[in-house]
Amino acid sequence: MIQADGLTARSAPVALAPLSFELGAGVHALVGTYVDGVPLVLAALAGRVRLRKGSLRLLGKPLTEVRASVAYVPLDLALPDALTVNETFALAAEIRGEPRAEAAPRLAALGIASLGPRRVRSLTRAEARAVAMAEALTSSARVILLEEPYMTLDPRAAAVLAVRLRERAKDGACVVIGTASVRDAIDLADDQLVFDRGVLVRTMATGASTATPGAGLVRLSAGVSDIGPVLPELAKEATITAIESDHACIVVSGLDARELAAAVGRAVLRAGVDLEWLRADAPRLEELRAGGGGNAAAAYQAAMQQRARSVPPPGAP
């Protein structure tokens, strides 16, 4: 869906080194800060800044031919200032050539249906970003570019954003998020393109094993409803090399993040207690850039997956 070949762009003080990548349907994360050029890559994909060199094709065509199929929500977004939110959705539908539809159900997708009659000028920054994301995610756009999706976002929208991104990706859209948060990048995206000062230094896939054997211990923290019965069950797990606990949580260490997370899941089941949370620290951006952080990334991913299996989502009976 997105084909960049030797793409370079510049917006002082940031410049991109020639960049080539292909992104298909799914959720993709461009990981890096402003000086790494991540917002600039998104701006170049959206046509906000000119390409200095290289070529860019979206949906197999130049951007100018498919602009209506691209939704872009930058951090410094601007909504049509004199309109209401409902009018903004109607305008967007006309621009994209969509049939005019009620804005309320589209806003409800991100839990902000009540904002429909409000003037855009009266929205807080967090509300305005939620409105822009609702428009982008419920439109017919097939390329959706979101900069720092969780930053300054209305909490109602933040609660369901990940689900909506997944739905759009499942529908065949190419969702690209730009973020400096490794945690967000792993939580939301199928793969991560890591940038360092304008250079694409690494591509990682969420779910693929990135752990480096022998690279050291990984640690997972778990919160359970009753620590007492779990400790003996954890001790039976061979993959766990160390167990620490206090009255609030248990910290287990081991060599393989996935095995460790699975062992915690098994022990909790056998003990018949509830797993309230399970987490690992996400790797730091510097670790990823340096080509490390594999164990930490794997631990984080494993904890997230185990938690998804063991902990019911908020609001579930």
Binding site: Y34, R67, D76
Partner: protein
Amino acid sequence: MSLAFLPSTRLLRTRRAWVPILGWTAFAVAGAMIARAGGAVRGADHALLGAYATVALPLLVYGVVAAALGGDSLARSGASQISLGASPFGVARATVLVSVAASATIGAVLAVSVAALAHGPQDPPLAADVARCAEIGALGGAAYGAFFTLGASFGARGFGRSLLLLVDWFFGVGHGSSAVLTPRAHIRSLLGGVAPLHMTARSSFMALTLLAFVCSALAVQRAGRAEWPLPRR
């Protein structure tokens, strides 16, 4: 057509539009009333060349263009629509069209009002004078609208608009070659004042028309190709 909705709504709904429109209209009407009260035999000429053409029209159109662009540069004023998938050229065309059309309409209505209110015994017959004033007001408004919209395509927040207001102010008052490129000199010429380089009224009419078209086209080209730089963080 849908792209014209935002700049039109800015003109109809925002205080940024109504304050200069009401303010400079009141100023021009007051000038006409004073001319009438003073018993000027060519009251319409006096009021049109004075308060209307010298002060009210340029500043009113300046305010209208600023309001249509939301107080921003021409390129950035359409950023919200471009984010929604619109073409930058389409957005720029619609914005320029709305700015120029609104300026022409307001310029014509105000010229007619001033001519009718200040009409004196030695002015041309009222009906003919009003029709001629509507034509000149519309053309003058359109030329100023295009002129300031082109100005708004320069500078981060459309600062060029203010620069062109000053250029018009300082160079337009003369009669030499530097005045030829300003709307002020040609509007003055059409309203019975001294023409730049002693041009005929027809030449001034053509010059204003040309100014409106060329400035509009340049503004669309500049805004359509403009980058929308990232804010520094």
